[in-house]
Symmetry: C3
Subunit: 159 residues, 3 copies
Amino acid sequence: RSGEMAKLTQLIDNEVFRAYATYTTIVLLKMMLMSLITAYFRITRKAFVNPEDTASFGKGESAKKYLRTDPDVERVRRGHLNDLENIVPFLGIGLLYALSGPELSTALLHFRIFAGARIVHTFAYLIPLPQPGRGLSWAVGYAVTISMAYKVLKTALYL
Amino acid sequence: RSGEMAKLTQLIDNEVFRAYATYTTIVLLKMMLMSLITAYFRITRKAFVNPEDTASFGKGESAKKYLRTDPDVERVRRGHLNDLENIVPFLGIGLLYALSGPELSTALLHFRIFAGARIVHTFAYLIPLPQPGRGLSWAVGYAVTISMAYKVLKTALYL
Amino acid sequence: RSGEMAKLTQLIDNEVFRAYATYTTIVLLKMMLMSLITAYFRITRKAFVNPEDTASFGKGESAKKYLRTDPDVERVRRGHLNDLENIVPFLGIGLLYALSGPELSTALLHFRIFAGARIVHTFAYLIPLPQPGRGLSWAVGYAVTISMAYKVLKTALYL
């Protein structure tokens, strides 16, 4: 058993893999933060979607008026969905990239730029910053993922 | 080739990794079930979104009336999206956590509580249960993921 | 350090794992393409959702009219969400399946059919093809994922 464990921890002891673990955890935690921000805006704007969520505001019509959409809530939800659309590819392609034997410095460059771009994207979406702020931050994260995908296919291609 | 295979299967022979594989597969299958429930409600409520999906109901206006939203369909879709938002972080952070060398009993506790919380969340959303049922089940899964993220960053942090 | 690297690259040298890496990267890139197609339709149809995205069309009412939904944009977005709902389970279950020691030919069959089904699904959604074209392509990808999940649970089950 401890022999197996030793082999497993070799993976987590590898510096490229540790960097992947660190930045993946950071961007996933950032994505999870969107749930809390959505909840915050739903409560402060009193804008809910499920009838059972407005029960504490009373019954009937007095509660029903809080079943509505709010621009701030919808904005956070769009940011959350954009995270899913971009962080899921990073999760998968980044893992394969980390296992494809990149140089540590190159890998760190990819992971840091991706994480930075997604954090900037969130601020650009929520403040919001004028375009092309949000567009550029999205494109940078996208390009990093494409670059990692290229390395994975170059190293591992088996059709 | 068989030497490589032996090394690969060492990963799947590790008990913590097997537990991760089991519970991840369970929650992903549970998430996939949401597609079937959505399809079931779309068909029984006759509520579709794509014109080509209503072609079997005839042409023109007679089919067009089934291009509508239905509260039950929308409820399942919200549950499905909530699964994506919460199970994707579990997928990534849970994998890194399983590789970070946790105690088997601690890992099992995390995986079991997360899977249980997400199953309760689905029932709470679909029945629906009065709040804070759904909110609490969501928070429990969220907290488990944060706890695993903490262990990953403590073990692997490499910025 | 180079000893660790050697061990890591053993994973990527395994043929089943290389096949997983290849097909996962392909379906994730295909999913990422949906972002570009959405942007293309938003720009050509002039249908935006964020006020800051319409600033280049002028100020006030002249720009506000481009804050609207467009059927083609919404169709691509539904295809993108369907990808997320189906490719996330493939990402997780496929990885565990690749580590569960399947025959190379069986694994290739699973990965190829899944990737093919998702590509057909995208064309079926965007053209659109008459049903049951889209429904069948969705079901094929779904069935492949269930088949891999069965193998994972049979090999690794640890509750």
